[in-house]
């Protein structure tokens, strides 16, 4: 009996260990690589013998990486703000107001997110040219909402549906307009859902590559993922692996910090949408 229990525990530990290794190893390798310089890149070692921050300096000095981070930040923050603003308004309508075609509309919203990005790329390109947004932040903010809005709307709608109807009615008796009900009664109760959906939207916008590559032209307009992919070394034939890895580490750390800060709220937010708050 005891042996079986020990074996069971060992098996579980092994499984957990391999999962952790599988998920953490690439990130670990990126850190290690980013700390190496020159030809040390091509020696395999668990920790660099002469770790240096040279690559980190280089990405900010040689490349316009600081500008790229600001771009990414501006785009992601505005995508989150716009998506949440629109999604809260939509969720009130879809979750609280009875009207014909409500379910159909929800399904259409979900359906939009099922197209592969490539399918809408050329049409979207024309649209953005026509709006005069090409090679700017506006193009990215607008196009990112194609994939952030469906899930923000869905999660917030299910969350809003769970809020008790009496609360809304009490507010109506108190003289609150729908706008006041949403902003002063519902919004404060939706903290967890807003944190969860906002963070997911932020991550999606922060990491997006295809639209960012297509709708920007110059280095000043690029966001981080594109900038990293297009990083060039001293010559055409050299890929600056050290710098690429340093840049990857720099842009991943804020995401990890955000997730850790909001971790508890995300879990409760996602669960509240599914079951009951």
């Amino acid at each position: 009996m005891r042996i079986r229990r020990i074996a069971g525990r060992a098996g579980l530990a092994l499984l957990v260990l391999s999962i952790v290794a599988y998920t953490v190893f690439p990130f670990y390798w990126a850190i290690v690589t980013s700390l190496k310089a020159g030809s040390a890149l091509f020696t395999v070692e668990a920790w660099p013998t002469h770790p240096s921050l040279e690559n980190y300096e280089a990405i900010f000095r040689q490349q316009s990486f600081g500008r790229n981070i600001l771009n990414s930040l501006a785009v992601s923050v505005s995508v989150v703000a716009l998506s949440l603003g629109l999604a809260v308004a939509a969720a009130y309508a879809l979750g609280r107001v009875r009207f014909w075609g409500r379910t159909l509309l929800l399904l259409v919203v979900l359906g939009v997110s099922m197209f592969p990005q490539v399918a809408v790329l050329s049409g979207l390109f024309e649209l953005i040219r026509w709006l005069g947004l090409y090679n700017g932040m506006g193009a990215l903010a607008l196009s990112y909402m194609i994939f952030t809005l469906p899930f923000t709307v869905w999660i917030l709608t299910t969350f809003m549906r769970e809020l008790p109807k009496e609360l809304e009615e009490a507010a109506m008796v108190d003289g609150a307009s729908p706008f006041v009900i949403v902003t002063r009664v519902f919004l404060p109760l939706m903290g967890p859902a807003l944190a969860a959906t906002g963070l997911l939207a932020f991550i999606a916008a922060w990491n997006e590559f295809l639209f960012a590559l297509t709708f920007t032209l110059t280095d000043e307009a690029r966001t981080v993922p594109v900038a990293i992919a297009l990083m060039s070394g001293a010559s055409q034939y050299e890929l600056p692996w050290g710098q690429i890895m340093a840049a990857s580490v720099v842009v991943t750390v804020p995401l990890i910090a955000l997730v850790l800060v909001f971790q508890r709220r995300i879990v409760s937010g996602l669960a509240a949408g599914a079951v009951k708050g």
Partner: protein
Amino acid sequence: MAGVTLRGVRKSFGRIEVIHGVDLDVRDGEFVAFVGPSGCGKSTLLRLIAGLEDLSAGDLSIDGVTVNDLPPAERGIAMVFQSYALYPHMTAYDNMAFGLTLSRTSKGTINERVRAAARLLQIENLLDRKPRDLSGGQRQRVAIGRAIVREPKVFLFDEPLSNLDASLRVQMRMEIAKLKEDLRATMIYVTHDQVEAMTLADRIVVLNAGRVEQVGAPLDLYHRPVNRFVAGFIGSPAMNFLEVTAAPDGSMILPGGHALRVPTEVLPAPGTPVTLGVRPEHVGVGAEGMPAAILAVERLGGETHCHVQLEDGQRMLVRLDGDVPVQAGEILPLVLGGETVHLFDADGRRL
């Protein structure tokens, strides 16, 4: 303070009509209770008055003003919900002040009114707590306070005590009775608990399947129910109904052959079947009574309930005062009084 008038009020949800033409006058300063079985439309009627549902037909006026198309906030009403519906993220103070803040009342007035209401409800020391830190009874007080500060013409209560446990319910019932004295406001109170209705209301409206069955003072409904439904609904334990026949001399032939003379306005034709209603507390025991076999006995200490079966198989509940030493299987001779029984015709109307 003002009255509420309903004229031919109807409400349909889709193709299903749930309120079939209600006419009702609630007088200024009156406490009216809506009672009825679940699904009778009492809550819907209250929500129509509140403006949370739109009328399908008819007219509704509060204080002489037709309010059919006015939103809830402009009707001069305040509502207390069954689930309290307090705003969870606001303190008790902010909950009570919310409506006034929206109507841009000055800070000083808000403070004054909230404090006054809190004093009345004895929740002054709870004002900075959030609802989750309050007990059920305290939440209910805050919810009532939120209604009071709006200084409405009409208070609407939707089963306000049904989420409380039994002892707290009795206590809050007393407090609402006191509130009624203090405020002297028009109040409409929906409940399925007839004790609440009997003790609190000046008049009771008995609803059944979207229709008003009877409107009257609590004891009028008890003593003179207009039909079999009201007779069976008001009073606890519920009234017994026996099938009897009318004799040529106008008396009723009871199971077992006894004749009972009942003073009625209309004499039923001889031989017609009549329903005789008698409350369990109005059945006496005495010699010469109709013999009834005791099926089961429930002893409550202060009173004893006997489930009995008459000779022809009809069953009754008899309530005897005190702890009576009777046992299942014994025969109890039952005596009815002509003054305390009710007669109903085949359609359930009072004779």
